[in-house]
Amino acid sequence: MQNDLLTFGGRALASRLIVGTGKYPDMTIARAAILASGAAMVTVAVRRVDLSRREGESILDVLQDAKLAILPNTAGCYTADEAVRTARLAREAGLSELIKLEVIGDQRTLFPDTEGLLQATRVLVKEGFVVLPYTNDDLVVARRLRDAGAAAVMPLAAPIGSGLGIQNPVNLRILIEEIRDVPVIVDAGVGTASDAALAMELGADGILMNTGIAGAGDPVKMARAMRAAVEAGRLAFEAGRIPRKLHASASSPVEGLIR
């Protein structure tokens, strides 16, 4: 990885935070929060044009001047075929090869179907896509995704939108230690700033989040919080934390005490 940038698929992003554009109370808040997050890339979903009503302002309209990279997703797809089809439409709509690949395996948890994910990754890589797969925290799967040509691997921290934070730091840490040649971007489950900081401290190269910001009491303020937290966690990771000890270690000298 290059020093301060999140790089994959030939791109270098100036921020390690990628944010979603869904679930905001309104477009004004969405825009303000997304800008406040400092993100250089945002995700969008691909959906049918609603013919029954006049479309209002879209998320792309309000972000038009912000020069953000657009990362379409295949959210809602339950098979590799659906995901591939959605990815192809996304490419035509956005004129870019980037795709956040989701193949969902369970409706209640939105956990990925890693078998379908791997299949779809292989097809899309062959078609020239830059594939960013949303996956579980299984090292063996991550390695296969990387070997299949994924431009990054994006393990979940916890169920999408759950806000539970890093459920399995051991698995995540092991995965990050072993996947060195493409970025590991924690995707889903981050609920608050300390979750984001912790993910970065474990060595993640970036974080993708949506609900944690969009669903907060004050999304713009939370966007600023997340921006600072990702930076804080990354700096702490690079700085190298002190070891944990069961007992105390005085921070003031013990010599020279008056008696």
Binding site: G20, V46, S58, E92, L208
Partner: protein, 66 residues
Amino acid sequence: MLIHLNGGEHQAPEGATLSGLLEAMRLQPGRVAIEVNGRVVARADFERVQIREGDVLEVVQFVGGG
């Protein structure tokens, strides 16, 4: 002529192109992608691809998502 559009039934004039359809729907071609019978059509081809009776079309766009 009857076509299937975004999951519903729709009347389109004979010989209409994808561009014509978008225009009729007041959609900007630069924002959507179109699938005809399961195959994506390149945006550059919207003007010359004609719709036929019974075609299944999907017209999609980007919306807020995570």
